[in-house]
Symmetry: C2
Subunit: 106 residues, 2 copies
DNA sequence: TCCATAGTTCTAAGATCGTCGAACTACGTT
DNA sequence: AACGTAGTTCGACGATCTTAGAACTATGGA
């Protein structure tokens, strides 16, 4: 039986990313904060760490993290019951060069 | 009596522009189209020209143009009953360098 | 097997948004 | 003063969003 540590969590293909959808998604203070958190971490964060940092209920964070994932801003990897989240930096840089720098400026 | 060709239309100060608000505003297909229209024009457009180009009712366009102005993306100048609209390119470049290039890419 | 943990999904509520006709305002013309 | 034009504002509607508790679904121990 193959390694199934990674659950099948759906992510949009890089070519399918929509600028308008990404802008809409990032134009929400909580989500922008999450993006900056992920960028500062320079590494993947466990969902629980994001929850702790933003201080909102788990269900609310789960909702925002789902929107970020569905817009193609983040990638989520499942290990057991945990979720590890990263920014899709390379994909975003490829598809919308300069966008991430703007989101993360200062 | 002083020249009153310019009505007092409120615009947010450059320093007051909010990235989240701008992203939210630009993450709407109609408004993104308007931004590109204004950029392509290389000049100010009369509101009526924008209406003609996007093909939506005047009242709907007026609504979107108001949001763009309130977010600080555009500047509106009144001459008589007409409104002349420009992108706030310099202000946006100053405040969020790179943003406009991303919005206008291809 | 039973239990705790991590996170998602469900559900419901209230808020905000996008659309567009109708009414209105401001200005120029006659 | 009356009219036409350019554009805004109002009012209503349905649609989408944000929030958060409750119920649920893994998964990893004891």
């Amino acid at each position: 039986m193959p390694n199934r540590a990674l659950r099948e969590i759906p992510h949009p293909a890089t070519e399918a990313l929509s600028l308008a959808a990404i802008l809409r998604t990032c134009g929400e203070p909580v989500r922008l904060e999450m993006i900056r958190l992920l960028a500062d971490a320079q590494d993947e964060l466990r969902a629980g760490q994001v929850v702790g940092a933003v201080g909102l209920p788990t269900s609310t964070c789960s909702y925002h993290l789902r929107l970020l994932r569905e817009a193609g801003v983040t990638r989520t990897r499942a290990v057991g019951t945990e979720r590890y989240i990263t920014l899709r930096q390379d994909d975003l840089d490829t598809r919308f060069p300069g966008l991430l720098q703007v989101l993360l400026a200062e």
